[in-house]
């Protein structure tokens, strides 16, 4: 039997049993679409998180006070080893490392920002001039904090895009004096709108010199230090140096936590990748359910078409040909169902992309291959039993069947 004839024959069978065909197409289509959708969601989440992290700046190493690992088991306050505060001098000392290009110490707090009669509660960020480079921020207007001795803060500030818009309205923000707590600052820059990065929205903050923030919040302690390594390859060296320098300064105590962007990235990457794989697998189960439907429908079809099978045998069809006819019917159904499912999957992906433009929904390449492949493999596997049953029919009995 020629392949063209086989597919023509199968096509006629499918067309002749529209209800049955549509049912299988639907089941297969839903299965394939589910795999694509679910993996697209997972992959979208993964890419979203990666994008958020890379939004922090490149080759970034983050230094946190305190140690995240468990050591000993006796709490520090009993042994007298309370974690030391991370100070500005610690931060400046890090610049000694050859692997480090820039550092930006951070103090974060909340304060009321006043301008004329308007007041706005806003996160206040105290940092140094290098912050803009480390964090890869852009300014819309004016200048960033000036390069000067970080121990002495000038009364200047940079406001986020939203703060500028809501506090000053149509008045130009540059040159205005605003008041935070009991101190006055002159606005010398407005940050460009950046959007959110890990829940931290730079559009809503006010950036002041570190020393000013220390005075505002009456605290020497740094919230974190952002360190930019000289290159991606230097990140590990920078991490070692940072630990070493701080250890020396803190009397041999390693009481900081150093997070590299890469480590965080690859952890998230792994977790979300595994998650996508897992949910994709769950969706693939729906495909095998579709396979069971294929088997049932095919078994019914074999019973209904007994006379036809008997006839085909009388006309000289071999058992192999009969099997082929049924298996190819399943394959054709699966192909059609998979195409429909792919189309539905892409369409809803496109729709979701429009509804949530910030999340890059896209089914990963392996799912695009695996979903239809699973559909076809399932169809083949589950059509073998009905096909064999058809091939085994006794032609005399099959021809005599009354259906």
């Amino acid at each position: 039997m020629r392949i063209a004839d086989l597919s023509a024959f199968t096509w006629q069978v499918m067309r002749g049993n529209r209800g049955r065909t549509l049912l299988i197409l639907l089941a297969m289509g839903i299965g394939v679409a589910a795999v694509l959708m679910v993996t697209a969601l997972g992959e979208g989440a993964r890419r979203y998180v990666l994008k958020q992290f890379s939004g922090l700046g490149s080759n970034l190493v983050i230094v946190l006070p305190g140690r995240a690992e468990t050591a000993g088991g006796i709490p520090g306050f009993i042994t007298g080893k309370t974690p030391r505060l991370l100070t500005l001098d610690d931060a400046l000392a890090l610049a000694r490392s050859r692997a480090v290009r820039r550092i930006a110490p951070l103090i974060v707090g909340t304060g009321d920002v006043h301008w004329n009669a308007r007041t706005r509660e806003s996160p206040i960020l105290g940092t140094t001039a290098d912050f803009i480079a480390v964090r890869e921020m852009n300014l819309a207007q004016g200048l960033f904090l000036p390069e000067s001795d970080p121990h002495h803060g000038q009364p200047v500030c940079v406001v986020g895009a939203r703060v500028a818009r809501e506090l000053f309205g149509h008045t130009p923000a540059l040159g205005q004096w605003l008041r935070i707590g009991d101190r006055r600052f002159r606005v010398i820059g407005v940050a460009a709108p950046q959007g959110e990065s890990l829940g931290f929205n730079t559009d809503q903050i006010v950036i002041v010199p570190l020393a000013a923030a220390q005075a505002l919040f009456n605290s020497e302690a740094l919230f974190r230090i952002l360190v930019e390594a000289k290159s991606r390859g230097q990140v590990a060296a920078a991490k070692t140096d940072i630990l070493e320098i701080v250890k020396q300064r803190h009397e041999g105590e390693r009481d900081i936590t150093v997070i590299t962007q890469d480590a965080v990235l690859s952890t998230f990457d792994r977790i979300l990748g595994a998650l996508t794989l897992a949910v994709g697998g769950i969706a693939a189960i729906s495909l095998s359910v579709a396979g069971i439907l294929v088997m049932n429908v095919m078994l019914i079809s074999v019973t209904q078409r007994r006379r036809e099978i008997g006839l085909l045998k009388a006309l000289g069809a071999t058992s192999g040909q009969i099997r082929l006819i049924f298996v190819s019917e399943a394959i054709l159904l699966a192909l059609a169902g998979a195409s429909a499912g792919m189309a539905a999957g892409w369409a809803s992906q496109f729709l979701l992309g429009h509804l949530f433009p910030s999340i890059p929904f896209a089914a990963p390449w392996w799912a695009v291959i695996a979903a239809p492949a699973t559909a076809i493999a399932t169809a083949i596997v589950f059509s073998i039993t009905p096909a064999r049953q058809a091939a085994r029919l006794d032609p005399v009995a099959a021809l005599a069947a009354r259906t």
């Binding site: 020629r2 004839d5 006629q12 067309r15 000289g316 069809a317 058992s319």
Partner: protein, 229 residues
């Protein structure tokens, strides 16, 4: 052409063994026109199924065209069936979703005949059997007589030497029966071996040789000098 020796066929029905054929010895020459007659249950369909290679005998030997086909594997039998035997059934057995032309082409499709040769052959058969204007009709749009003509055209599509017809007029009225018989007899006239199973004595009488089956055994009677009609 066909040589049956000691053919037996038993069926297990419930706990009992039914002997449909009890030892048939039969030789049919090429180009013969044979009627197998007998009451229902006499074993005539069983005999036809064995001759048509649809069924295996329980005992005995079957030689077709000088070849022992008794013990052939199913697939090999299917191939012999495809090339040597054309079936005509009482209930036509046309595939309802296929047109007349597609039904006729079916054996050639299964045999893998090239589409161009197939179309040529189908066109010729449609023309020869007066079905040219019915080529694209489905069985449910055809009369009984037309259906049986399509079935005969299908049986002839691979030009088999043997035509086996099981009650070919059993489902037709008198007039169309006559048409169908005339058509089958024209095939015989053209050289095919024609084996017709019927319980209708007047139809049986037209054959050049009659086999009367009774309880699984042959009672062959010579042909009367003049046919009944």
């Amino acid at each position: 052409m066909i040589r049956l020796t000691g053919i037996q066929r038993h069926f297990q029905v419930g706990g009992e063994t039914v002997h449909a054929l009890r030892g048939i010895d039969l030789a049919i020459g090429a180009g013969e026109y044979i009627a197998i007659l007998g009451p229902s249950g006499s074993g005539k369909s069983s005999l036809l199924n064995i001759i048509g290679l649809l069924d295996h005998p329980s005992a005995g030997q079957y030689e077709l065209d000088g070849r022992d086909v008794t013990a052939l594997a199913d697939d090999e039998q299917a191939r012999v069936r495809r090339e040597k035997i054309g079936f005509v059934f009482q209930f036509f057995h046309l595939v309802p979703r296929l047109t007349a032309a597609e039904n006729i082409a079916l054996p050639m499709v299964l045999a893998g005949v090239e589409p161009s040769r197939r179309e040529e052959r189908v066109a010729w058969l449609l023309e020869a059997y007066g079905l040219a204007n019915r080529a694209h009709h489905r069985p449910d749009q055809l009369s009984g007589g037309q259906c049986q003509r399509v079935a005969i055209a299908r049986a002839m599509s691979m030009s088999p030497p043997v035509i086996v017809a099981d009650e070919p007029t059993g489902n037709l009225d008198r007039h169309t029966s006559q048409e169908v018989i005339t058509l089958l007899e024209s095939l015989h006239a053209a050289g095919s071996t024609l084996i017709v199973v019927t319980h209708d004595p007047s139809l049986g009488a037209r054959a050049t040789r009659q086999l009367h089956l009774d309880d699984g055994l042959i009672a062959e009677r010579p042909l009367p000098d003049s046919p009944a009609d």
